[in-house]
């Protein structure tokens, strides 16, 4: 038995941990692009902000799309509710609220991540230190994940946590793809262009997949392969299919435990089926942007239904 409020806390705690890391990954990819291509760096930073869903709030505060402004906004600005610092703070507040549901190791890893990032992000980041800071963020979230997987009992508490993780992750990956969907379209992708190679690598880098891609596909970047990897690959831990495999699994555990299926189960099944039987060709024929926009809407709806069905709010 779990309080609805506790399930809510677990769900959002994990969404925000995922988000904190995602921001670091996006800045990392943007930084890489800015380093290798100086000409249209501001355009690149703009697409980073779009992927982060923070373009509007950013433009209210800044005029220049520079590395310093964007990284400050996405990593340490607490007036930006999705920045790494805000996300860690929210994750920790949720963890504090659901403390009795967490192992000591999990709570301590979140608390320590919060302490260390608060210290590290207290002052503006010197550009020279940016790689160190990004590493530290990824390390802290990895430690949280490690203690979580290593110590938590696989019960409903685990299930609600995982639902948060995968709903957030699926949303992140879909957004990254959608912001760059045009560079993946076959009509625009003249093979061999350095420009597109950088663009494609940037997409892969923002989901930490630039190396693993080469293990699975050829050394060459091909837009259909990249889309296939991030949408349909069953083994790629940030792909949409992977996320939905686990969402489906944890929702099934809950249905079995409670002996009841809800609206969210139907929605998850529907999305899973769509991903399972679709091929990347179908998706491109249907329209990549249309596919992704629909996916993002459905994924958001799944989140809302989970909250409603399990009395989060």
């Amino acid at each position: 038995m779990l309080l609805g409020r506790t399930a809510n806390g677990l769900y959002w705690m994990n969404r925000y941990i995922e988000r904190a890391e995602n921001m670091a990954r996006l800045v990392d990819a943007g930084l890489r692009m800015a380093l290798t291509r100086t000409q249209s760096a501001s355009e690149e930073w703009n697409s980073v902000l779009l992927s982060a869903g923070s373009d509007v709030t950013f433009s209210q505060k800044y005029q220049d799309y520079t590395a310093a402004n964007v990284s400050d906004f996405l990593l340490r600005d607490i007036s930006n509710p999705s920045s790494t610092m805000s996300s860690i703070e929210t994750a920790r507040n949720n963890a504090r609220m659901v403390r009795t549901a967490l192992t000591r190791e999990t709570w301590e890893s979140i608390n320590e991540a919060w302490m260390s990032l608060k210290r590290m992000l207290a002052r503006p980041i010197d550009e020279r230190d940016l790689p160190t800071v990004l590493d530290a963020i990824k390390r802290e979230t990895a430690l949280i994940r490690g203690s979580f997987y290593g110590t938590m009992l696989r019960n409903e508490i685990f299930d609600f946590s995982q639902l948060g993780t995968y709903v957030e992750r699926a949303d992140n990956t879909a957004r990254i793809l959608d912001v760059k969907y045009y560079v993946l379209l076959p009509s625009l992708s003249w093979v061999g262009s350095t420009l597109d190679n950088y663009q494609w690598e940037s997409i892969l880098r923002s989901v930490s997949a630039h190396r693993s891609y080469r293990w699975v596909y050829e050394a060459d970047y091909k837009p259909t392969n990249i889309a296939d990897y991030l949408i349909l690959n069953v083994r790629m831990p940030r792909s949409l299919t992977f996320c939905y495999r686990f969402l489906g699994e944890h929702l099934k555990f809950l249905a079995d435990d409670y002996g009841e299926r809800h609206a969210c189960h139907g929605t998850a099944d529907k999305i899973q089926t769509l991903l399972k039987k679709g091929s990347i060709k179908d998706i491109f024929d249907h329209g990549l942007h249309e596919f992704l926009a629909e996916f993002i809407r459905d994924n958001t709806r799944l989140g809302d239904e989970i909250a409603q069905d399990y009395r989060f709010n």
């Binding site: 038995m1 779990l2 309080l3 609805g4 409020r5 399930a7 507040n93 504090r96 609220m97 403390r99 009795t100 000591r104 709570w107 301590e108 608390n111 320590e112 302490m115 409903e156 609600f160 809950l254 409670y258 009841e260 399990y310 009395r311």
Partner: protein, 478 residues
């Protein structure tokens, strides 16, 4: 035992009194301490702080935005009581706790003590802590105050006094437990050398104790929950800690609702009935339909469920009347009235400023006395005369004269000291002691308690909100 008018009081040191030398309870510890490398001890002190910060054992200080989460400083020198001393204390505490519950039952029913004129009627009737809503209500198992923290001070080898009874929602027990845990982590060898009575079964005892006072109508094992005001409350850590250690739900008002005459919590599988609620929310906030209508921390209608006998609330609403500072001064009479014996544990002599003669005396001796607000707590709004400046005394005298009934005064006692470890070695600091008492069909006192220590040299204020720290408290198994 009266003040000398200075904060440098000649205090009784519990480890090394000037007159008699090292006291027996400290002998084994002292032998061990002398073998230790001072650098290692300093290191251990820092380790302790890291442990506390990492686990998030913090408390919030009201009115301090910046340091919204602070540690209560922990000192690694234990405060040690001999088994014999402890046994004497527990007799006094048990008697007092019995009297407190009898007093509560009486004033919410026949009010015999008021009829007998032993406690002035207006002191109860006009007291905000007295809840007319509780008149005629008899809680399950007849227990009003289930969890009590009795603050005790020591003046000399044989003189212990009760400073305050905390009969509402005493806090700090998590520190008692974590302090012991930390000491065992830091100095495992000490606990092999010295037999210290364990305190770690407190959460189990609390759970059993709460289960024992479940409503009569409860079928099967009762569902118990801890009610917290939420994660922004200063004692939230403790609420979460106790719920966790007892293996019960930690709930907030927003999780609860009255359904079919019972209190139920909203779970992922729908509403589930609660039988016993260990609430850490003040009376005023408990039920917006009965008390403060703007409260979002409580449960609308819980008092109706309570009056119908369908839930146990621990501690019962209205217990504050028993630990009110104005009532405190009548505790010797109260103990005698209900137990038929003289109080084993005495009170500190107290002037009630509502009485003209007392007020005159207090105003004349303001620089020698400790003056407290009748309804205050946590060390806020009090004056320690000997430590205050002339101006502070004058200002306080004005407040006092304007509303005398709001204050009581006590002599500045030379609270006993116990050494703490400082950069320059051991140094004595004033301490008090809060043992925790559980009442169900029996009275249980965990051997130990929370020792609070004033870290500033010469200071008598031990409250954590005023810069006090804590120590592990040992009761020897001898």
């Amino acid at each position: 035992m009266l003040s000398e008018g200075s904060t440098r009081l000649a205090a009784f040191d519990e480890m090394l009194p000037e007159v008699s030398g090292l006291r027996r309870p400290y002998e084994a510890y002292d032998r061990w301490l002398k073998e230790q490398d001072p650098a290692r001890l300093t290191q251990k002190m820092q380790d302790a702080e890291r442990v506390f910060r990492k686990t998030g054992i913090t408390f919030a200080v009201y009115g301090e935005q910046e340091a919204s989460e602070r540690l209560i400083p922990f000192d690694i020198v234990p405060r040690i009581l001999a088994g014999q001393e402890w046994r004497r204390l527990t007799q006094g505490i048990e008697q007092r706790v019995q009297a407190l519950n009898a007093f509560l039952d009486d004033i919410y029913h026949r009010q015999e003590i008021l009829r007998a004129g032993r406690v002035p009627r207006e002191l109860v009737a006009k007291n905000e802590a007295f809840l007319p809503e509780m008149i005629g209500v008899r809680p399950p198992a007849g227990v009003y105050t289930h969890i009590i923290g009795v603050d005790i001070v020591r003046i000399s080898e044989n003189e212990f006094y009760v400073l305050e009874d905390n009969a509402r929602t005493p806090s700090g027990v998590s520190y008692m437990l974590e302090n012991r845990e930390t000491m065992m982590q830091l100095f495992p060898e000490l606990f092999q050398k010295i037999k210290v009575r364990p305190v770690e079964d407190y959460p189990q005892l609390l759970r059993q104790s709460l289960a024992a006072v479940r409503p009569q109508s409860t079928k099967g094992a009762p569902t118990i929950a801890v009610l917290t005001p939420g994660s922004y409350n200063s004692a939230y850590f403790e609420h979460a800690f106790l719920a966790d250690q007892m293996g019960v739900q930690l709930v907030e008002g927003q999780d609860l609702r009255v359904i079919d005459g019972h209190v139920a919590m909203r779970t992922t599988e729908g509403y589930k009935q609660i039988d016993v609620l260990y609430r850490r929310v003040d009376d005023n906030f408990l039920d917006p339909l009965t008390f403060r209508p703007d409260s979002a921390l409580g449960v609308p209608g819980i008092m109706d469920v309570y009056r119908a006998g369908n839930i146990t609330i621990a501690n019962a609403p209205g217990t504050g009347i028993a630990d009110d500072k104005a009532i405190y001064s009548y505790m010797p009479e109260i103990v005698e009235f209900y137990t038929g014996r003289k109080a084993i544990l005495g009170n500190i002599p107290t002037w009630r400023c509502s009485e003209p003669d007392s007020l005159k005396y207090v105003l004349e001796h303001i620089h020698e006395l400790v003056i407290k607000e009748v309804h205050g707590s946590g060390g806020y709004g009090m004056l320690v005369g000997p430590a205050a400046t002339k101006k502070e005394c004058q200002d306080f005298a004005k407040k006092l004269a304007a509303k005398p009934s709001n204050y009581i005064a006590q002599p500045t006692l030379a609270l006993s000291t116990c050494p703490i470890l400082t950069e320059k070695g051991l140094s004595p600091r004033h301490v008090d002691l809060r043992p925790y008492v559980l009442v169900s069909d029996r009275i249980q006192i965990v051997p130990g308690g929370l020792t609070r220590v004033a870290l500033k040299e010469g200071s008598l204020v031990v409250n954590s909100s005023q810069g006090g720290g804590t120590k592990d408290t040992w009761v020897l198994d001898d």
